[in-house]
């Protein structure tokens, strides 16, 4: 009797312990399924992301707090480089130039892209496939080659515009002069990116269900009114996205001034754009610490600009 009880108790503890084991196993299995597995799958991306995104950012921030001294080597200087950057007129000249560039070039480019997209979407124009592909084509061309191409077109020696002007006994247009350079660069960027933005907006327009504006058209609304009151508000998110990418792109211009410098060395100084300035600081002057400070400050300015822009447009939409 006593023995039997013992056996029974053993059995029940055994049962409990196997249940416990099972629960532990189940929990381990769930943990593996819910946590380990996804991160295992994500590992290649996360690893590279940390190596080539987080780490450089952190490193830039780190070395921007140090300075190379003739006496004493590399020393910790805290925020001194940033104070220097804030008082650096070369840096701010570039930033101001890029802000001016952004305020003019981005609206021109996006307005053109929007007009093209609306025309192609509404079906008023003929040869639509030709236009869509032709306008997009410059995007496929490396920016280096676009700059080279336009640089030659601008050339006062063998550029076709200068040739035309001289055949009409006019002075060659000053594309590469001090006053013309920023507009010339703006033209290159517009040429290269309008088609890309047009496709983004066109794709968003195509995704609008036609029922949303067919009724308005039947009621006699003009295409313009349909575009103004129905289509443009509906593609506002795509417009905001295009704006943000354009702001980011224009603030960090580099290839254009760097290549243009070979054609017009007197016009483009070493701090024509902030990014070009950071490059020259690092690779001409070997001032890596200060260059990192400039890079980091520029990154912060870009981030803040695009963030403010997104906040402003979001609030506008809620109202």
């Amino acid at each position: 009797m006593h023995k039997q009880q013992q056996v029974e108790a053993d059995r029940s503890t055994l049962a409990v312990s196997t249940m416990k084991q099972k629960r532990v196993l189940l929990r381990q299995y769930r943990w593996r399924q819910r946590v380990v597995l996804p991160y295992l799958f994500l590992a290649p991306f996360l690893l590279l992301f940390i190596l080539f995104f987080i780490l450089p950012l952190g490193y830039a921030l780190g070395i921007s707090l140090f300075a190379d001294r003739l006496v004493g080597g590399t020393v910790f200087v805290g925020s001194q480089n940033y104070i220097q950057a804030f008082q650096d007129s070369s840096f701010w000249e570039g930033v101001r130039r890029m802000l001016l560039f952004m305020v003019v070039q981005v609206p021109v480019m996006l307005c053109l892209a929007l007009i093209f997209a609306l025309l192609l979407d509404s079906g008023v124009a003929r040869l639509r496939t030709l236009f869509r592909l032709g306008f997009f084509l410059p995007y496929a061309i490396p920016s280096v080659i676009s700059v080279l191409l336009w640089g030659y077109l601008y050339s006062p020696y063998f550029g076709p515009f200068a040739q035309l002007a001289s055949s009409l006994h006019l002075p060659a247009p000053g594309f590469l002069t001090d006053s013309g350079m920023l507009a010339s660069i703006g033209n290159i960027v517009t040429w290269q990116w309008t088609g890309y933005n047009m496709i983004i907006l066109y794709a968003a327009l195509q995704a609008i269900p036609p029922e949303l504006y067919e009724a308005a058209l039947v009621d006699g609304a003009t295409e313009w009114k349909v575009a103004r009151y129905i289509k443009i508000p509906l593609i506002a998110p795509a417009l905001v996205l295009a704006c943000v990418f354009s702001i980011i792109g224009s603030l960090q211009l580099f290839t254009e001034p760097q290549i243009m410098k070979t054609l017009a060395p007197d016009v483009i100084g070493d701090h024509y754009t902030p990014n070009f300035y950071a490059y020259n600081l690092a690779f001409t002057n070997q001032q890596y610490n200060y260059s990192a400070t400039i890079s980091f400050t520029l990154g912060a300015i870009v981030f803040v600009c695009s963030y403010i822009f997104m906040l402003a447009t979001n609030r506008g939409r809620l109202r």
């Binding site: 592909l133 032709g134 030659y152 496709i199 070979t262």
Partner: protein, 305 residues
């Protein structure tokens, strides 16, 4: 009052509509088409100039009218010069570019596809936060990263090797974003569950079930990464200094700098132009044949933003 005035006008408008409508429609169509044609000329003119210039000798480049062919058709000589100049270094650059772009594009697309799929189909702790960081990184200017990346790469001795170009190009946050949206839309949960019930492990579920459905998105990311690496200039400029590792963009820019420094006396200008033409042809062909994919990708990106 307003109604009584309005009604007769609108019925009148209805009566005259057919013929007038056709005519205004025709006028509007023509106006819009002419407007777009003007801009088509603007977008294609530089390319036309490039084709014309690639057929000219260096003296003709300076003396003949830029927008039309010179009497001397010199394209084949230019191509010959292009591929033999400097010991055929152009061919090396072409090969380097293709190699960097292919490795980066295949790698970036595969990595982004896996990551996008995980973000779309798994619920795990940290998912929202990690994804938010990745999204935020799209807004950080890539060039602000390039100089620190160069400094780090030089610390570990990778500068001036192909890996210095390829490895950073494998990270495509926008690709992850795109693939997440694509996987959410294209891969049904039921299908994955069915495969799991049949006893397939998660790796198997991804490779043999999900990946097959994700191919169009994969090709889109592949195409965009390919173009980005093919066109990349800033990063190779920083991390490479041996011309035998140069991609086309860097090589052509270095020839241009030499040509400008010599006042265009050498035949380098024609080389830069012919080289530019040769190096954009593969991309133009790729874009014309893969239209479905890049348009699809941009559609996805814009709808969900």
């Amino acid at each position: 009052m307003a109604i009584s005035v309005n009604t007769p006008v609108s019925t009148q408008a209805h009566k005259v509509r057919p013929s007038q409508n056709k005519r205004t429609r025709w006028t509007r169509q023509s106006l819009a088409t002419v407007f777009l044609l003007v801009f088509l000329v603007y977008f294609l003119l530089p390319l036309f100039w490039l084709i014309v210039s690639a057929t000219k000798t260096n003296p003709d480049l300076f003396t003949s009218f830029g927008l039309w062919f010179a009497s001397d058709f010199n394209l084949f000589n230019n191509l010959g010069d292009l591929f033999t100049h400097d010991g055929g270094v152009f061919l090396t650059w072409l090969w380097n570019t293709a190699y960097y772009a292919t490795c980066s594009a295949v790698g970036a697309a595969l990595i982004a596809t896996i990551a996008g799929y995980v973000f779309a189909k798994f619920r795990f702790p940290g998912r929202t936060l990690v994804f938010a960081i990745i999204l935020g990184s799209i807004m950080v200017p890539s060039t602000a990263l390039a100089i620190p990346t160069y400094l780090l790469l030089s610390k570990i001795g990778l500068v001036n090797t192909p890996l210095a170009v390829i490895l950073p190009s494998l990270v495509s946050p926008f690709g992850v974003f795109l693939m997440r949206i694509y996987a959410e839309q294209a891969v049904p949960d039921e299908l994955l569950d069915a495969a799991r019930v049949d006893g397939a492990g998660e790796t198997r579920v991804f490779w043999s079930v999900a990946l097959r459905i994700l191919v169009p998105g994969f090709v889109t990311v592949l195409l965009f990464s390919f173009v980005a690496t093919w066109n990349n200039y800033f990063l190779p400029l920083l991390v490479l200094n041996d011309p035998t590792y140069y991609p086309l963009t860097l090589g052509l820019a270095s020839w241009n700098a030499q040509a400008s420094a010599n006042g265009g006396a050498q035949l380098l200008f024609t080389l830069v132009l012919t080289g530019s033409l040769v190096s954009i042809l593969p991309l133009i062909v790729a874009f014309l044949f893969l239209q479905r994919y890049w348009q699809g990708g941009l559609t996805l990106g814009s709808i969900r933003s």
